[in-house]
Symmetry: C2
Subunit: 164 residues, 2 copies
């Protein structure tokens, strides 16, 4: 099948962007990954209105990316804190891929303002595209083919490769 | 430094989203990765207005993610086609990470409507987070630490690890 014949309503990239492509959604996810879980702290750090943050959090919760629970500190009223669900945590490669790209192509200061490192060895992590048969080989678009691409090469899975 | 003390205007994720977080931008990038380069074909396949597509393409061009060139087929007027630049092609891990996430969490039909496979072996590719010292070890958020996280663990780069 040619890519132009694919009904894009069934595209997983599009389905993902329907929720995480909303303005501010991935910045909220970034805050949660970085350990900021309280409404007012997220709001102040991102710099968005309460109304927009409340709406986005509701959407992320409805889509099962975020869950909330109530907590109360002594002498304060009950508040909510927000955590990524398993589905939200699976956005880690998306966030790291954006961080890497921004560091390389958009960083105001070289290297960007924050780094994510492997806890064990201290090296900076990167989101790389690999296949399960060649986990240590980073692939770019030239090494891949889609089943709906313009050349739509028929692939026989598992025929192996000595080339890499 | 705690994450809340980081000025998010210097965040590379935010800088990346300033351009690719615009509605439709990553869907245009998806079309270009899939070999669709002509304005009218992109427009019809995504299903957006000419005006919006023209604006997004201009923004992507101004940001050096897309370049265009003129071409003319016999008997037709001169048209433009659009290609990803090196900087645009570096978005490959972002697109694959979104595709993987959508396949897993949002696919209308199991597995989604298109797959990207390693040209050499036919296995489906995935965007995984790794570090250069452990290229074959997929990492999740629990394996990483940021220099601006809530616990802000001091990392001495290169102290090595036998743990993984």
């Amino acid at each position: 099948m040619r890519w132009l014949e694919v009904d894009t309503r069934n595209c997983s990239v599009q389905a993902a962007l329907d929720i995480v492509g909303q303005k501010w959604s991935l910045l909220i996810v970034r805050e949660l990954f970085n350990g900021v879980h309280r409404f007012d702290e997220i709001q102040q750090h991102i710099g968005i209105s309460e109304a927009v943050l409340a709406r986005r959090l509701r959407e992320l919760r409805d889509a099962d990316l975020v869950e909330s629970r109530e907590y109360r500190e002594p002498g304060s009223r009950t508040r909510r804190e927000y955590r990524l669900t398993a589905s939200g945590l699976d956005l880690f490669p998306v966030v790291i891929a954006l961080l890497n790209w921004g560091d390389k192509h958009r960083a105001p200061n070289a290297g960007g303002s924050w780094q994510v490192r492997h806890r064990e060895c201290g090296e900076q992590v990167a989101a790389v595209v690999t296949c399960p048969a060649h986990p240590a080989t980073p692939l770019d678009h030239r090494h891949t083919v889609t089943n709906a691409g313009p050349d739509a090469i028929a692939i026989t899975p598992g025929h192996g490769s000595e080339a890499d």
